[in-house]
């Protein structure tokens, strides 16, 4: 599914990712944890092609394609989805028009006919139920005036609509109460199968109780410094990051 090798990236000349290596196979869920400022969101931004970041070294292969050579929209159409940590408000653009443009762009990429209005509305209704999203929201502008929880559910709703192969959930749990987190996690779990994968970026172990990862990585100072099974999340919850940081600082001499 995804193969990241020695990925380096900078923003405004400052190096944030300092050689990331990561392999995600079909059907796997990977959790990426780490203290603030370690580069977690940068990783998701670089993988999805945010033009603010510059890749200075490394290779990323996604479904056999050279991901870093692709435009952001082509990465999305190829099946890469990012649930944003801070979904942007887009005043004046209705959710319906926005989603229709996205769905039909993907279908065109796959060589399919655009969805007709009736089928599209039906699909919207179906997927909305997955995340318990109000029908009124689809008439509003994208994310405008949505509460924090609604924004996150809206991200998962879009994920359900677009049926990506690999989803990156960038701190989708932040700012959510337990009930809202449950709705989000259920949505993700319902969509998960042997052919789809996910990268779950989070600070807390709580979400990982609901979305069970196969592997847990710790990202610190631009590098993955520890990789282990699901029990690592619990350990971090109890002991914090300091023990990992110390080991990493010693290893990389920083």
């Amino acid at each position: 599914m995804l193969e990241v090798r020695n990925l380096h990236a900078t923003i405004a000349g400052k190096e944030i990712l300092k050689g990331i290596n990561l392999t995600v196979r079909d059907g796997e869920i990977h959790a990426i944890m780490g203290p603030n400022g370690s580069g977690k969101s940068t990783l998701s931004a670089v993988l999805t092609g945010n033009p603010l970041y510059e890749v200075t070294d490394g290779v990323v292969i996604f479904e056999g394609q050279d991901l870093l050579q692709m435009k952001p929209e082509d990465r999305a159409r190829a099946g890469l989805f990012l649930s944003f940590q801070y979904p942007v408000e887009i005043p004046g653009v209705s959710m319906t028009n926005f989603m229709r443009a996205a769905i039909n762009a993907k279908r065109e990429y796959e060589g399919k006919e655009p969805l007709n209005a009736a089928d599209f509305m039906k699909l919207m209704r179906e997927k909305r139920k997955l995340v318990d999203l109000d029908s009124k929201l689809s008439r509003r502008s994208v994310n405008e005036g949505f509460s924090g929880g609604e924004k996150k559910r809206n991200e998962i709703f879009q994920m359900a609509m677009l049926e990506p192969k690999l989803s990156i959930l960038d701190e989708t749990d932040s700012g959510l109460d337990v009930d809202a987190m449950r709705v989000v996690a259920d949505g993700v779990n319902k969509m998960h199968n042997d052919t789809t994968s996910a990268i779950v970026i989070t600070h807390y172990e709580r979400l990982l109780d609901m979305i069970k990862p196969n592997v847990v990585h710790v990202l610190y100072n631009g590098r993955i410094v520890k990789t282990a099974g699901p029990q690592l999340a619990r350990e971090i919850e109890q002991r914090g990051y300091d023990w990992i940081k110390e080991a990493a600082d010693a290893a990389f001499g920083e």
């Binding site: 929209e73 942007v88 004046g92 028009n97 443009a101 996205a102 762009a105």
Partner: protein, 447 residues
């Protein structure tokens, strides 16, 4: 020869001809207008309100005029089948600067309402016209108004009696139709008595590829508690120059919603002077400009708060592509006695290319102390974060840009009260941005 000289010569030679084909009450102010025009000449760019448009240059070419009032050889009711879905209007035509009087849809109008040729009513009811004509449109203050007043022979008159509401929108299509380069001088007079209500949609179109120069003066009197919605849509072509001066006077408790949309044009200059004469009145004045190639659009507004407790809102948005030039200058004047004035003026602009230029000048001039006034102006680009968000959902860069551009101008369109018109404009704007409306092919509202 200076630009104004040819108009001075024209009037000197043709004043009698003009007057012979025109009503006495319109002729009564002609010589004064001529004197005012002669005294002022065309405004240079040093005149503050004409800083951004060179009038002398626009009026320099030689255009023909239909001073003999020759009859129009077309029946616009056959040429234009205008039908915005779900918007039934009472449809009228002004071909060049003549009101088309045949087959008028009078049946839709309530008792007492007059929608007719200005020159016709001026001949029939001179006392009534005399009371309103060229009163708020002062010829001593604007030489284009002076020029129009000195040359105008016809146009539209609308009268709505006390407490009468016209439900059906009055749609007026201004058609420019000529085989030679033509100058037209239109005149519109709207009188809404106390409690009257009316909605207008003026659409400017050019059916020929000739060069047209149109001057237009609209005077609108809005009585106590009356309501006026005045929508002006311009959709002509690049060889068309339009100078429109709109004067609105509001009495107490009245409300006005005025929208100016420029979709296609050559050079457009819109002046709006709105004055509050009675307390508790409100206005919402909006403009939306989509310009590319060498289009030039200059909106110049003055909201004059003369009395307390009035509210004004202005929202103007421009999208400028290629080498288009946009200008917005809006002055909100709050006079000494106009306490408790609330005013908000906003001008937002998207400049898409390096060669496009935007001049913006939102101004406040305030002489009363108990007021809440604000203005804001921005020039910028589309939001990068929104662009990336859309692209991450698989939407192409071009499509994302278009969606954001519609959203940008739709904010203005959504302030219009007529829902069917809003829907139609959303559609037209989208087509405009997609480059599918390259030139006017008649009435785009209808196709």
């Amino acid at each position: 020869m200076s630009s104004e000289q040819q108009y001075i010569d024209l009037y000197t030679e043709a004043a009698d001809l003009i007057k012979r084909h025109s009503a006495g009450v319109l002729n009564a102010v002609r010589d004064k207008a001529f004197a005012d025009f002669k005294a002022q000449g065309f405004p240079s760019r040093k005149v503050e309100r004409y800083k951004y448009t060179d009038m002398a240059r626009l009026f320099a070419p030689d255009y023909g005029l239909n001073l003999n009032r020759l009859e129009i050889p077309v029946n616009p009711y056959q040429a234009f089948k205008c039908d915005v879905p779900n918007l039934s209007t009472s449809l009228y035509f002004i071909v060049n600067d003549s009101f088309y009087t045949k087959s008028l849809p009078q049946a839709y109008l309530p008792e007492g309402v007059i929608v007719d040729s200005l020159s016709h009513v001026a001949a029939e009811k001179p006392d009534f016209i005399e009371k309103y004509y060229a009163k708020i449109a002062q010829t001593g203050e604007d030489s284009i108004t002076a020029l129009n007043t000195m040359l105008a022979q016809d146009g539209l008159l609308v009268y709505v009696p006390r407490n009468v509401k016209i439900d059906r929108t009055v749609q007026v299509i201004n058609i420019l139709r000529s085989d030679v380069d033509l100058m037209v001088n239109r005149r519109v007079l709207i009188v809404l008595e106390e409690g009257a209500e009316a909605k207008f949609l003026f659409c400017d179109h050019a059916s020929d590829d000739r060069r047209f120069l149109a001057t237009q003066v609209i005077e609108a009197y809005v009585g106590n508690n009356a309501g006026l919605e005045l929508n002006c849509l311009e959709e002509t072509h690049y060889r068309n120059t339009r100078v429109s001066n709109v004067y609105i006077e509001q009495q107490s408790g009245s409300h006005v919603n005025h929208n100016v949309i420029t979709l296609h044009n050559g050079v457009t200059r819109n002046r709006l002077d709105l004055v509050f004469r009675g307390e508790g009145a409100e206005c919402q004045c909006n403009g939306c400009v989509i310009a590319d190639k060498h289009q030039h659009v200059d909106n110049n507004t003055l909201i004059d708060h003369q009395v307390p407790h009035c509210t004004s809102n202005e929202l103007y948005k421009y999208v400028l592509d290629d080498e288009a030039v946009g200008a917005f200058a809006g002055l909100v004047l709050v006079r000494k006695d106009a306490q408790k004035t609330a005013s908000q003026e906003t001008n937002q602009n998207l400049v898409v290319t390096r060669k496009a230029r935007m001049y913006t000048q939102p101004m406040l001039e305030i002489y009363a102390d108990d007021v809440k006034c604000a203005h804001g102006s921005t020039v910028g680009q589309l939001n990068d974060a929104a662009m990336f968000y859309m692209r991450q959902r698989g939407i192409s860069e071009r499509e994302a840009k278009l969606l954001l551009e519609f959203a940008f101008v739709n904010e203005v369109i959504d302030k219009m009260e007529l829902e069917p018109l809003r829907d139609r404009l959303h559609y037209l704007v989208e087509k405009r941005f997609r480059g599918e409306l390259n030139k006017c092919e008649g009435c785009k509202l209808c196709k």
